[in-house]
């Protein structure tokens, strides 16, 4: 199988990820739940992961790196910490339902700062307009999961600082493929999965918290600390990590992050972009495809959507699957992004690459699409 669905999860991981997880199952107990060797070994593994993530993403302290189940879990904590009923929430026009649904659930007044696809200036203009109207919180995805559009996060963060609006960054697609520094941006929160660009296993995610930002727990329970108090502890990470940790996941995530840091986000990004450029060049030669692509390498990452003139996106993805190519079709849990790009009626077929994809994978996609189109004629 040629796997081109990395925006959902990176299926191919560094070998060290599975090895460390298998070892963790046998050797790591619960961190913060004992003073014995197996517990302290787990605590050291968790601490190493927090420390590495803090360094990588410019977080003020390892304590402000919170382990979550996924990016959605992290976004729920961030959104529920900053937004409530009637809160004025400004969001980009490219948000995933992991942002839109929690905002809707708390009863926030959602204001969408729409901008055309790959048009960074339009996004900045819309954000400024909405922030000037007054806002209690802003949420901005760093890279669209549908189109790979790299949003102007520096400019959005600068405006949020100017208007004193706390910013939540959804780094679901950018973590590991774009540099991100929470402290420099002055963001309140950044949420990211462990299982995509950080090459960890499913069931892992990170919530990064800015300095002096107070987050509210989403779950309550044992934290291994201050156990005589009925309230969750005031300090991070204990405040937000109720219950037993996913130690095999954290051990695997550590190895994934180590892999990314060894190669470097810039090299991964360059590799992914080359593959997207190749995909665009090849697929452009096939008639009847609408490709959502920009030549501006600063505006599109390792994701590209396309639509087929005489075929539904789901039908195309199914045909590709039969030919051994894994892609994703439909609305990608991001109807708002499709509304911004005008693709909400039919959805798109999405390809998304990782550090492990090769040019051969893209040629395989090209051959498969040629066969599918030829069959339709």
């Amino acid at each position: 199988m040629v796997y081109l669905d990395n925006a959902a999860t990176t299926l191919i991981k560094p070998d060290a990820v599975a090895r460390s997880m298998a070892s963790a199952v046998k050797t790591l107990a619960s961190p913060g739940r004992g003073g014995h060797e197996a517990s302290m070994r787990a605590a050291q593994t968790a601490f190493d992961c927090r420390e590495t993530a803090a360094e990588m993403f410019g977080v003020c302290s390892p304590e402000n790196v919170i382990f979550t189940m996924n990016a959605t879990h992290a976004l729920n904590i961030a959104i529920r910490s900053l937004a409530g009923r009637g809160s004025r929430a400004v969001v980009s026009g490219y948000e995933h339902n992991s942002v839109m649904r929690p905002l809707h659930a708390v009863g926030a007044d959602i204001r969408v700062a729409r901008g055309g696809l790959f048009d960074k200036n339009a996004v900045v203009y819309s954000f400024r307009k909405e922030l000037m109207r007054g806002a209690d919180v802003a949420v901005c995805t760093h890279i669209s999961n549908v189109f790979g559009f790299i949003l102007p996060i520096d400019e959005v963060a600068e405006m949020c600082r100017k208007y004193s609006v706390p910013l939540i960054i959804d780094a679901a697609q950018s973590a590991g493929a774009e540099t991100l520094n929470i402290e420099d941006l002055g963001a309140s929160f950044a949420a990211m999965p462990g299982h995509k660009g950080l090459y960890g296993p499913q069931g892992t995610g990170l919530l990064l918290i800015g300095e002096n930002v107070r987050a509210q727990p989403l779950m309550f329970g044992g934290s291994g600390s201050n156990s005589e108090l009925m309230d969750m502890p005031d300090v991070y990470p204990d405040r937000l990590e109720a219950g037993t940790h996913n130690m095999p996941g954290i051990a695997g995530l550590s190895e994934g992050i180590r892999f990314v840091r060894k190669i470097g986000e810039y090299r991964i990004k360059r590799h992914e972009r080359r593959l997207i450029d190749l995909a665009h060049r090849l697929l452009s030669g096939i008639g009847g495809l609408e490709l959502y692509y920009t030549e501006d390498a600063g505006a599109q990452g390792g994701v590209m959507s396309f639509a087929v003139a005489d075929m539904s996106s789901e039908e195309c993805a199914e045909s590709l699957s039969e030919l051994g190519i894994a892609v994703r079709a439909g609305l990608h849990c991001a109807p708002s992004a499709h509304a911004s790009a005008g693709t909400d009626k039919r959805g798109t077929v999405r390809i998304s690459v990782s550090a492990f994809n090769t040019e051969d994978d893209i040629y395989a996609l090209f051959d498969a699409m040629k066969r599918i189109k030829a069959k339709k004629l």
Binding site: G32, E63, S225, E228, V235, Y236, P237
Partner: protein, 82 residues
């Protein structure tokens, strides 16, 4: 021999403190806070020998990692806050 227990606000905090001390060549270990001196239930502390106490507190103050409290531990259930 008297040991000292530097009470930390969390396990992660204790890990940060311990790392600073070890980087400076000070033998320090993380252990559970004994129930007799735990203010709000379970927690962690950094344990070290008496000869390292003064230097350790100086280092931790300089790095913003001050302990919540410091106890001298004379053995078994014999503790005194410093």
């Amino acid at each position: 021999m008297t040991n000292y227990l530097l009470i930390c606000r969390s396990l992660t905090y204790a890990q940060r403190a311990s790392k600073v001390l070890k980087s400076a060549g000070i033998p320090a270990s993380i252990s559970r806070i004994p129930k007799e001196i735990a203010t709000n239930g379970c927690g962690y502390c950094v344990r070290l020998a008496e000869k390292w106490l003064s230097r350790s507190l100086e280092l931790l103050n300089n790095t913003g990692l001050q302990p919540i409290k410091v106890y001298a531990w004379y053995g078994y259930e014999n503790y005194a806050e410093v």
